[in-house]
Amino acid sequence: MISDITLGYSILLLPLITFVVNGLFLGNKCAKAAAIFAVVCNGLAFAAAGALAFIYFSDFAPQATSLFDHTFIPFVGGLVARIGMLIDPLSVMMLVVVTFISFMVNIYSIGYMREDRAAGRFFALLSLFSFSMLGLVVATNLFQMFIFWELVGVSSYLLIGFWYHKPSAVSASKQAFILTRFADSFFLLGIVLVSYVVGSFDFSTLNSLSLVDFQKQFINLGLVTISKSEALVLGSILIFTGGWGKSAMFPMHIWLPNAMEGPTPVSSIIHSATMVVAGVYLVARLFPFFAICDNALTLIMWVGAFTMVFAAVIACTQKDIKRILAYSTLSQLGYMMFALGACKIGLVVAVTGWTASTFHIFTHAFFKCSLFLIAGSLIHQVHTNDLDAMGGLGKKMKLTYVCTLISILAISGIPPFSGFFSKDEIILAAFQGQHYVVFGLALFTSGLTTFYMFRLFFLAFHGEPRHEGVKAGHVHEDFAMTLPIVILAIPALLSGVLGKGIFEEFFVPGQLNVPQLMKLEHAEWLPFVAVGIAVIALVIAWVLYASPWAKVQRALDETNRSGIYKIVYHKFYFDEMYYAVVRQFIFGGIARAARAFNDYVIEGLLAFTVWFVHKLGDLVRLAQAGYLPFYLGTLIVGVLLWRFFGQLPL
């Protein structure tokens, strides 16, 4: 019988081994062998995760334990950084999702990267990516999480810039890295502050704090002296900022749509199981900690809600299918984020939002991964991301067509597809939490979601073919690429029905130090309203893009449009705003001043120090002339020297 510890190690180590073997040995020599090795190892990791989940849910659930826990670096003052593997319902669920998605994406990449000469490197990096995410998911403490958090950042950088000969890919990877690093620096500050105040990195300690203990103690932060409880609230917001950037919440969202420059399997894994989910996972993991820090949850809710609407509006106008999907991810992440934030009802915390959010992470992973893989398939046929060149693909790609429909119905929240159940719970949480504005926004966005997804669907699959190759019938479905799409359609269809009710048991009880509410009454009318809105949106999309009286050519033409449409189409000019700020303010202002200071003050001091040290070095070499009498003399001098300067009590 394989023990759960063996399973735990193999889940983590198999992707790492794949990375090392493919990166060092197989990658350069035989891309095909690298691909097969990656698929086998990731498949085994998924099998191990499945087995672990089975053991866990039949024996332990919902208790939190750690499979192993090693001391990594013992710091001064009792602070210990540990490396461990935390097992609770949330992390087990994530392990299954990440390994499954990674397995699917690896299979898909066999087909997608077939022509690419650097495929070996690709498979190595893909495994590094899932290893980093797995390490993050099982982290037992903030320190370990930060290590893997950064590893996730590095591997995403390497993968987004995988086609480094394309300038756009290079700049997109840099943008993603710099923006998330910018947010991570706040995260690090938060870790330092919180671990300083609490004296521990461990999630178990942080999640069982009580602010009352800290109100009477004060710490000095250099400029101001604040009470420790205030410091914790500040720390919680700083930590959330890390997730803010990683999950690409407004206004740090711009890197995510640009990250489309990477190969499509990378986009698929980034958007469904790794990277962007990390931010939501962080908040979910530290939820009891955020819950006691007063304003943190409110901030999280508003950031999430705003991103949700904002991204959905932009998605309605885009023509690049990967970009539409990217904005839809932003919007869905907004759902997850605000659901976590909407838990607070006055002084009571309702766990429903937490449940709904983790549920949505679960269902979203499958249909979003599937949608991206489908997008990759379509792009493979028409060699462009543009909806202009698609249309009429449904007739040629029957399997893909059906799977797309399933995923799109799932994301639109139409029963009985998976997205309906999780989204329903999220909207319910907002309603029950008496956050009526957010509740309204969520309903409105769910309509927008249906609209832009069906817009994509109709424009890509219906109507007349607009691409010469498609017209000529050069369309086929690649086996390696279609297989994962078909497999993913199954959880996209069923994960909602099966998962419903299970996630309510997920919350490890006894963690919250505030009054809590485990379950709320369901509002009977809510699903009808939500589905009604979705159906209306669907009909509007059909009328505009697929009905006999739709003007597809005109719909695709963005030149002849009103002002508001143009602003939305250009994503509210956020990219341009960023560039302006960076160029004018940072490069032109701060950087120039810093440069001048560096050139005249630092360089001068440095030059002097270097000169001085070199002169001293010459002195030492001068003494080394090779004369034995001199050397013997130094012995005597040495004794006298230390006699007088050694501070001996002689």
Partner: protein
Amino acid sequence: MFNIPNFILPDVLLLIFPFIVIGMRLFVTTRSQLPWRLANIGFIAIFILLNLIPFSGGAERIFISNWKVDDFGVLMREVLIVSALLGMWLSKDYFEHGADKKPQMHQIAEFIGAIAFATFGGFTVVSACDLLTFFLGLEIATIPMYALAAWNKRDQYGSEAATKYILMGSVATAFELFGFSYLYGFSGSLHFSEIQAAVASGSSPLLWIAVLFLFCGIGFKLTLFPFYTWAPDVYEGAPTPVTAVLSVTSKATAIAFLVVLVYGPLSPIQDKMAPLIALLAGVTLFVGNLGALKQSRLRRFMAYSSIAQAGYIMVALLGPATTAKTAIIYYLFVYAVSNYLAFFVFSIIGHHREETFQSLRGLSKQNPSLAIALAISMFSLAGIPPLAGFFGKFHLFFSGASTGHYTLVAFAVLNNVIALFYYLQLIKAAWVDEPDGHLTPLRLTKRQREVVILLSIAVIFLGFVPFLSNNIFAGFTN
């Protein structure tokens, strides 16, 4: 038969087998590989036997009332054996053909014997319970080194170096003896425990004169300022494998001597010796770093580098016993591995070219794996995470800081910047500078390749598993 306890077996074996190796020369031809193979088996067997000795958890194991084998002693023995084994492997090629403009060496059996005796001297130092054994151990460790330094009889630079070494060494030995005699005069006993009791009951100028001369005497072997002057000349003049053995075995023996002294008989006055130790450490590492700045010959460069390393090790002596011993042992392992890796790379270069910075030019293009090994060892010596050297230095500084010597630790850390500068110069030569067409190409023998790979992995591994040190020194934690 004799009733010999297990823990003494490695020492007995080390005492006996060099005689067999040397004696065997009477019965085999000069070309025979038999002594070499036997020596390998002997050293490896000793290493395995040492690893079989369980931690005593602080309890002392005494053999015939005068030979102590404690946990620190066992770990020091392991360091010394590792150093001897690596030194022997390094020397093998020098008995097959000459290198670095020096003729081929002869009489490998005696060479190995000398290394083994020096190692046994180190064993004696860490086992001593009284001043006499202690002094004998130090001399047994030193005298073979004089012979080793002059192993190339026809090389005039080697002879000059050995002359300087032996003359200065004699003076240092005189200092030692002088110090010992005062210590005896102060306490009225040769035995450590009685000296410790006398020191604890009160100090007098007699004791402090002893301390002064003991530190100055050992300062010669440990290359502390200003007693290091022999080191650059001897490191440069002696054959390369001897230089490597000198820089590790000799230094490890000397630091073990200080550890035994400072945490044994002199432990009651450790806090009063702290200013002297701190000064010695600070000045030595500063001067060593300054000296290394503008060198062009590789071994001379390594001499200054190891002078600076001695200064870093001294920092640990300021800490409490357990922390300091742990840090020093861990660092000696790391230092031995990194240093030998560097010397292996240099010797491979030396077999085909001169041992200068010039010869490293363009190494990354001609022989990338060797350039990587060089970079690993230099980064480790410079203390760059996550390589072993970083954690080694971290432990040393931690030990110094744990008794509040923050100024010295800050100074040592600042000095690391200078160190990084000169270590990077080597890496720059290997990685950035364009290759020189006149350089003869390098060829690695099978042994050289294997050892370089082994040591590179060791440096990386020791660094990536920093918590290993906690496990190694589990025995110290009481």
